[in-house]
Symmetry: C2
Subunit: 152 residues, 2 copies
DNA sequence: TCCAAATAGTTGCGCACGCAACTACTTAGG
DNA sequence: CCTAAGTAGTTGCGTGCGCAACTATTTGGA
């Protein structure tokens, strides 16, 4: 096991910037959403459903896209179901399964919140960056993600 | 409140890549560290102390750099103190304050683990990227961080 | 000098999460 | 068929975290 090369200055900036700034950025965006009584997890859940066919997704698929465990999704659903933003619907074909379905109330709510959330994402990240940085972030995370898919 | 511009394709790639890949990447690196009985928080704590003057930092400064609340740091300290990697030292000048001090055992342990952690960071992120992507990540997070410092 | 305000650290509490175990149902192989 | 293995979702439990409240100490005016 050879000692790997240490990080040079640019690599260190990239790595340290990433791990120190990411939590701060996420917390800031989470606080922005808090005004509407939502946290980032709730928002992501509603956003995923709004983009899905018929505004609904199988629970297991939703859990995967949200990077949540099955139990984590069950509990998170409890919150948005209680708020009447989402309802659970039994799958007619597979009685084990159920769908998370965005209600009309949930959709109206999301249509109100989404532009404000987008504004926060722009002001806190996207609009601060030039075109080549945007491009580089996209390709960098695509590469990292692809590597994670092959190695676990 | 005008509706802000929606994200174009490159912006969407950057944003979605960031929010979906980051948790997966962090989880993977966390699993890598788990082999040594450490989680990412413990590692960061030891790493910060190893780079500090006299291998020690005031608790409140350490909490800030680790992005932890005071109570969060208190609890995290409990773990590494029990493992004898860190010890609490009373500040002689300010009897409210105390230092977290990396023990010899903790330093030896970190010297063993750091190269392996670095190898994981390289293979999961840094070595996947070309020079301009590294550069862009560094400058992008520096800009985001600077903006967070001014706006909160 | 003295007391109010600020600061360092800890503790009680609640929340979100993952893991493991469980129930209920579906699917595959004999 | 019928049973074993697999899959969907929920629940119990433990963990790590932040917030608020608390103690102890320091600091900054009147």
């Amino acid at each position: 096991m050879a000692i790997p090369r240490w990080l040079n200055e640019a690599e260190m900036n990239a790595w340290l910037g990433f791990i120190t700034t990411t939590p701060d950025l996420m917390n800031a965006i989470e606080r922005d959403l808090g005004v509407f009584g939502l946290d980032a997890g709730d928002y992501q859940l509603l956003a995923m459903l709004s983009e899905a066919q018929d505004h609904q997704l199988k629970m297991c698929d939703l859990a995967d896209t949200l990077r949540l465990s099955r139990s984590g999704l069950t509990r998170r659903m409890d919150g948005v179901v209680k708020a009447k933003y989402v309802e659970r619907i039994q799958d007619k074909d597979d009685r084990r399964a159920s769908f998370a379905h965005l209600t009309a109330k949930g959709y109206e709510f999301l249509k109100k919140v989404a532009p404000l959330h987008l504004k926060d994402v722009r002001s806190r990240m996207i609009d601060l960056l030039n075109e080549s940085e945007i491009q580089a972030l996209g390709s960098a995370f695509a590469k990292i993600n692809a590597h994670l898919r092959t190695t676990g």
